[in-house]
């Protein structure tokens, strides 16, 4: 019963969404998916994408106009079947690395990703060295 109702709602939603686009003044914020894989991908992206205008907020936690627009864009892309990586690349191409909370692993950021390991190895070695030279 629940699923039937949900599918009915989904159809109504899609029909109104298409027409609603031309009529609605407020952008709507509703993003139903038919399967959980896409749903999870969408939610995961909303958590990992940064709102460009907010004071440190991801898309999931922001109602700023640009955040709503970007949410809609992410929804559109996920609906088209894009992978998480593809959606992120799409947005990074337009807004730069600032828009993903996951910094890339490239020459400029090797220091960032490797620092904890390197610092640990160096200090651990120093400690062992001093210990065994006593």
């Amino acid at each position: 019963m629940g699923i039937m109702m949900f599918r009915k709602l989904l159809t109504i939603f899609f029909v109104t969404f298409i027409f609603g686009l031309t009529l609605a003044e407020e952008p709507n914020e509703v993003y139903p998916f038919e399967d959980s894989i896409h749903e999870e991908r969408f939610q995961s992206l909303l958590n990992e994408l940064r709102c460009p205008k907010c004071q440190g907020s991801n898309l999931a936690g922001s109602n700023a106009p640009i955040a709503i627009d970007l949410k809609r864009e992410v929804y559109r892309l996920v609906k088209l079947g894009k992978t998480e990586k593809e959606v992120k690349t799409y947005l990074v191409d337009r807004y730069g690395n600032f828009i993903v909370y996951d910094p890339p692993f490239e020459s400029d950021t090797y220091a960032l990703w490797l620092a904890p390991l390197i610092i640990f190895l160096i200090t651990f070695s120093v400690i062992l060295f001093r210990r065994f030279s006593n």
Binding site: P27, P52, P65, I66, D69, R94, G96
Partner: protein, 177 residues
């Protein structure tokens, strides 16, 4: 050796403090545009004046030019409007308008009342082109050089000062920055 080790934390913190000090004096409240040195993205959107007419990238042809992102709900845009008029009236550079997520009637009214600095006005009702340009608010202004390449983006009100500091040098097709 022992003394050197004892000095290490001190040296590390001096570096930290120098770094923090440099951050304080850094002034950055704008996102740098990653579209710099790329050409204007392809698009096809209706004109503001006439919904039947479509504007696309090929219509942005009177170069060099600026594309100004504005809307009637944007208060700062009203502040920069006179400067845009000046750019047009003194033929400094062509100004194209990107009306961003706005109401067509209100936008046309404003242009009639305050003057229309735009060579062409694109009606980007849903902010699609804006997203392709990496726009995150209004007003924003992009400088497009003679070859159709985006050279600079300014977020915020366009003033004489901003023009001189950020955009003027691209007018002559300088490739050295």
């Amino acid at each position: 050796m022992k003394n050197l080790l004892n000095l290490l934390p001190l040296i590390a913190f001096v570096i930290l403090i120098a770094v923090l000090y440099s951050f304080l004096t850094q002034d950055n409240d704008q996102l740098e545009s990653v579209l710099v040195d790329q050409s204007v993205p392809e698009f096809r959107l209706p004109s503001l004046e006439n919904p039947e007419i479509a504007i696309s990238k090929s219509n942005i042809n009177k170069l060099p030019a600026v594309i100004n992102v504005w809307a009637t709900w944007c208060i700062a845009c009203k502040v920069e409007h006179p400067f845009l008029m000046k750019l047009k009236e003194e033929s400094i550079v062509t100004v194209y308008g990107l009306n961003y997520k706005d109401n067509r009637t209100k936008a046309l009214d404003l242009l009639k009342k305050d003057g229309n600095p735009f060579e062409l006005s694109i009606f980007d009702e849903y902010g699609k082109l804006a997203i392709d340009l990496g726009v995150y608010g209004a007003p924003e202004t992009f400088f497009i050089d003679k070859k159709g390449i985006i050279r600079e983006r300014h977020v915020g009100v366009l003033t004489t000062k901003v023009w001189k500091e950020k955009f003027e040098r691209f007018l002559n097709g300088d490739n050295d920055v």
